[in-house]
Assembly symmetry: C2
């Protein structure tokens, strides 16, 4: 199989007979699977993947140095992946930190690759839900063991700062993958494998049947990765499809191939060791400007699509790829209602962090801050609108005052489009917090910018107000509203028309709190209330928080619930007379 | 509320305070709900709804005479339904047995009706999954109590014979409705109502959040009924949507309004008594040729659609009604492989019954009988192709030899389209079993016909062979194939290209059996093997059998599984610091 160096992961060496057995996989992973099943039921905190960088380096996991060396060894050469149907090598990733990665990847001849992927379906189906789950957990374990290597790969494709790339691109993404496996396993095992059916017929003998139920896959799943969170947004769909028996073709964003190429290679390695067709997971890297996703999405073999990205392409997929189940996460306009605060300083620091983290390049970052024009009541006394925006601007500036610390929080601007939006935002209204350039201590060519905040007014009756479009990146709008009621109605309109991955509110007023909650329940948005500490509206935890709701225009699916997995497989019944 | 006579259902009288309380509903229905939840887990036989006509008449249920009288009292007058937004009365149902029903129904002004339906959503959402389920069970209980009245209503709209109309249109439909309620309840309660989340932070205090999770509805659900099984095919979607918190607008087939109008009236009555907005369930009857479903399907308020009917309209809905979750059951070409038989006579009688029941007007009736041209081996010796078709024709003729008995099995031809297809079928090939007219003992104007069987040959390489189109009605094709392997490949092609609600096979050959099973697993079709007794391929039992698979072109959903309910609601999370 793959000729990639696996020396960093000694614990993955094959068993004596050269393969991973079901018994070994059970020993390694059954307890973890059981705990994951318990976690999605209680939704209490749980994770088997440590998030501290120093937690790695033992028990067969890469140390920081090993991870960095492994990443360096990948650069400037073809990425080795022995999948069939390769017609050329493609690649051109440039790190947002200014480094050309120089890695090339196989470009697929899909008429060769897709049949090869399908050839593994029967064996994978016959493995059954439990063995499929255990194989997925082994894939995740090997990914976890290489968390440091993934951290560099995610950092140099997404622009995330190293610690965030390690955590969000590593353990948190692994959690989301494991969560999807747990849901998939649970869903496939809700129907028994067999049933005895005996229907009374009065004095006559009962009618008796034996029934067998088998979870069957739909076909090849296409996972279309995104630039900013290649693993975190990619793993749920990838593992949900694979665990339900479907081959998965991974089409990464052309700027963020490496983390998913590593994922594919590890998956193929584990599948082969466990006796399955490695082509059940394959990579589809593309030529510049090729638009491969569009070609793949309408192939009849593709029966499932997972996509994170623009609303326009997401809508196109939903409308056009009618042969497939399509799961999309698209754009939204995340909204914050600031009506009053019991802990004003806590609110400011919490919100300042949310606006700054990864330069606001998260689908969950707040964009619109709705603030009554008459100001708000707080534990620090009344604050006028201008005082609130000034205080928030000061909180952001303080948080990002030191360049090195700022760079560690902001990361780099992921691509020129975001930079252009940031530059243009200052023209949209009165700038209450200007963006500034930050010098990165290690990467002089990195484009690092602090967020901009622009004051707008909801009272202006514009047809297409700027704040009702997603402005993805380090841009927020402080929107003056007439009243709390006005804020609530604008929140409703925003979620209904534009969608939202997240909503936050700060209020000490029970009526306002209830009104915001009611809007979120009616318009189907996830709400964080009065956060002042170390949990932020833009972060969700696997096994407990839902990412998106699937019920407003920002996404047609939530990570992760039963609906995310239940239609990736079907149940076939065979019945016979007993 | 409804001014309909409810004297037949004494047990439904309101409690002393004029309303149904949660406690009363719990007393009445919690045990049934629990049993239903158990049944969908074991998939053993279970039903709380007796199917023998004589089981009714006690415990507040209508006797046969009461049911008939109640049905007669409905005829020739406006159907009383006090829903808002009625702009005229419409109707023109003519029984396939030759009686004009003369019932008229309110035609909706949907700009008035839809907002009235939405106005009940908050209260219904706040009731929560358990109370919603119990209210649904009360609706089903009252429907069950009027099983005899429904039997006549189903008979005189679908053309089913009385006993079948009573069973399939009554208890079996009620079972399917209850099954949907059980799935909906189970699905909504898999996420806890609240969770305490505490994430360790090393030496610092843990991060702590309290989280509330609420199942929220999507919006108004549209249930588009069909002509042949208004209740059986209608109840699953209706109850799945209602139990998950959505208002349901019932748009019956214009030839089969009465059973669903009764359903709507009972639902409204129960909702009002339980303190909910009765407009959560409403009827949308249409003018002749109006095409109301097409108008309703694209209204932004409509967020869920359930449809049973033609492939063309089902495909249109799936493609066009992008604002809604669309669940369709469309056409398919149900295929039977006859390779060999261990009990030849049992096979013949079983298959003869399946071909005859309700004149083959079931979406599950076999159409293509694939038989090797060299004949088959049986416990009665080798049988040539011609002997097999002749023996099967004889079995059908014997089953339907007596007109009165035949009428009781065949029912009436549901509409002129089916009659036209039957007449045209004889031109498609050699008729091996001619259709004959049957005189109905009670209804001289009823159109009753025995099934036709036509011999075709798969070896003819036609571009569009007749047997690869659904020929809905009492028409089957005995298709000569070269071999068992040829049959298996034609089965695969048929299911893949045309879909199938059911597949059956008779074989004593383990390899052939395995090949047929593999095709069904790969192409996602439900398989019945070697049936010779009192269970038939065209019948499925709620709580145990899946109706359709949702994985081939005949239907995009199965009745009933988690996928059928999981996307009718969404989960909204509200989180706060603990």
């Amino acid at each position: 199989m793959a000729t990639a160096p696996t020396a960093h992961v000694p614990a993955t060496s094959p068993s004596a007979d050269g393969g991973l057995t079901a018994a070994e996989l059970t020993d390694r992973h059954q307890a973890t699977l059981d705990q994951a099943l318990e976690a999605i039921t209680t939704r209490a905190y749980w994770s088997p993947h440590p998030e501290h960088p120093k937690a790695y380096g033992e028990n067969g996991t890469q140390s920081a140095e090993e991870g960095q060396a492994a990443f360096q060894a990948l650069l400037g050469r073809p990425f080795e992946l022995d999948q069939p149907g390769t017609d050329e090598l493609v690649g051109g990733e440039v790190s947002p930190y200014g480094i050309e990665l120089g890695v090339t990847y196989p470009h697929p001849d899909i008429d060769v690759l897709l049949p090869a992927m399908r050839s593994g379906m029967r064996g994978w189906r016959e493995a059954g839900p439990r063995l499929r789950a255990l194989v997925c957990l082994e894939i995740l374990r090997r990914i976890n063991a290489r968390t440091h290597e993934f951290a560099h790969a995610v950092m140099h494709t997404s622009g995330q700062a190293f610690v965030m790339a390690l955590q969000a691109g590593g353990p948190h993404a692994q959690d989301r993958g494991l969560e999807a496996v747990a849901y998939a396993y649970q869903e496939q095992t809700r129907v028994p494998e067999t049933a005895d059916w005996s229907k009374p017929q009065g004095k006559r003998d009962p009618l008796r049947l034996t029934k067998e139920f088998t979870a069957v896959p739909r076909g090849v799943a296409l996972m279309i990765g995104c630039n900013t969170f290649p693993t975190w947004n990619g793993f749920p769909g990838l593992f949900a499809s694979l665990a339900t028996g479907n081959p998965v073709l991974v089409k990464p964003h052309p700027r963020a191939v490496l983390p998913l190429a590593l994922t594919v290679r590890i998956a193929r390695e584990v599948l082969a060791e466990a006796g399955f067709e490695p082509n059940l997971v394959a990579l589809a890297a593309e030529r510049p400007g090729e638009g491969l996703a569009k070609t793949l999405a309408v192939r009849p073999e593709i029966r499932i699509i997972d996509y994170t990205g623009s609303t326009s392409f997401g809508d196109w997929l939903e409308t056009t790829a009618r042969q497939a189940q399509v799961y999309t996460e698209k754009a939204g306009v995340n909204t914050v209602v600031i009506e009053s605060a019991a802990d004003y300083r806590g609110m400011l620091s919490n919100l300042a962090f949310s606006l700054s983290l990864y330069s606001g390049q998260m689908c969950t970052t707040p964009q619109n801050l709705l603030i009554p024009r008459d100001g708000i009541d707080t534990d620090q006394g009344h604050r006028t609108f201008d005082e609130v925006t000034a205080d928030l601007a000061a909180a952001v500036s303080k948080l990002l005052g030191d360049d090195a610390r700022a760079a560690g929080l902001l990361g780099a601007i992921v691509n020129p489009d975001v930079k252009a939006r940031l530059d243009a935002a200052a023209e949209l209204g009165e700038v209450v917090l200007p963006s500034r350039e930050v010098a990165h201590p290690d990467f002089p060519d990195a484009v690092v910018r602090t967020p901009v905040m622009v004051r707008l007014d909801a009272a202006k009756s514009e047809e297409d107000p700027a704040y009702l479009e997603e402005c993805f990146g380090p841009v927020s709008f402080a929107v003056a509203v007439d009243s709390a009621a006005d804020a609530v109605e604008l929140l409703r309109r925003t979620v209904r028309e534009k969608g939202a991955m997240t909503v936050a509110a700060w209020t000490t007023n029970a009526e306002v709190e209830q009104a915001v909650e009611e809007v979120c329940l009616e318009e189907c948005a996830q709400l964080s209330l009065n956060l002042t500490g170390g949990v932020f509206v833009n972060q969700t935890a696997a096994f407990s928080d839902f990412h998106g709701s699937g019920g407003n225009p920002a996404a047609n699916a939530a990570l992760c619930d039963a609906a995310f997995v239940a239609n990736r497989f079907r149940t076939v019944e065979v019945r016979r007379e007993a």
